[in-house]
Amino acid sequence: MLGPSLAVSAILFTIGVTGVLLRRNAIVLFMCVELMLNAVNLTFVALARNLGLDGQVFVFFVMTVAAAEAAVGLAIIISLYRHRDTVNLEHINLLRG
């Protein structure tokens, strides 16, 4: 089941990348990043069957980092919303050249 798992993982990752490129809502963008992290976790779990349990241990660390990232990222979005009253990234263009 290694091949199909990696295929599903690749497709999910691609959907996540496309979502990040297509959407402008900062929260939905974050969800797409979570989707990509999940796709990578699936790769780790699938390869752990062939290469040992280290892959499963690594998924723990990825989940921890994802949890921390979600907490900090959503805090940033909240403070952004306080300043600009929007989470649409089109209106947050201070650094645009």
């Binding site: 089941m1 290469l51 349990l53 280290d54």
Partner: protein, 172 residues
Amino acid sequence: MYGIVFGAASIIAIVSAILCVTRRSPVASALWLVSVMFQLAVLYVLLDAQFLAAVQVLVYAGAIMVLFLFVIMLLNIGRPGPSDMKGALGRVAGIVVGLIVLAELIGLRQVRLPRGGSLPDGTIARMVEQQGPLHAVATPLFQQYLIPFEITSVMLLAALVGGVVLAKRRID
């Protein structure tokens, strides 16, 4: 049976992911993402990672997605407003880049696993059966990866402090 469950979970996961990316309402997106995470938990069980499946449901589908929904409710942006999709040019560019990424990932099929390090089929399943799903993962986590595990706790503390400082309402 195994193949049917695997295929069904994969298809539901992919369809849910597409719906998650395309729904206009952030709440609908979040709920479809929860569906993806549940299907991934099913796949983890099929891939001999029972404990990770439980953690996936608890941490991802439970904690992280509740955090997302909580922020959506807090900012009161749950209603589907005007579409936040990019314009026609941005859409085409996004889909083209997505297809290129997929093609690159498919190109990775050429990579072969190292022959020497590859375990025979069913090794992990046997380990899980003998030691229990928790013990099999806990042993490397608390022996070989003890220092990364401890560093993770420092990172969580930093994230906790950072989250409070960033989201705190400043009193003028």
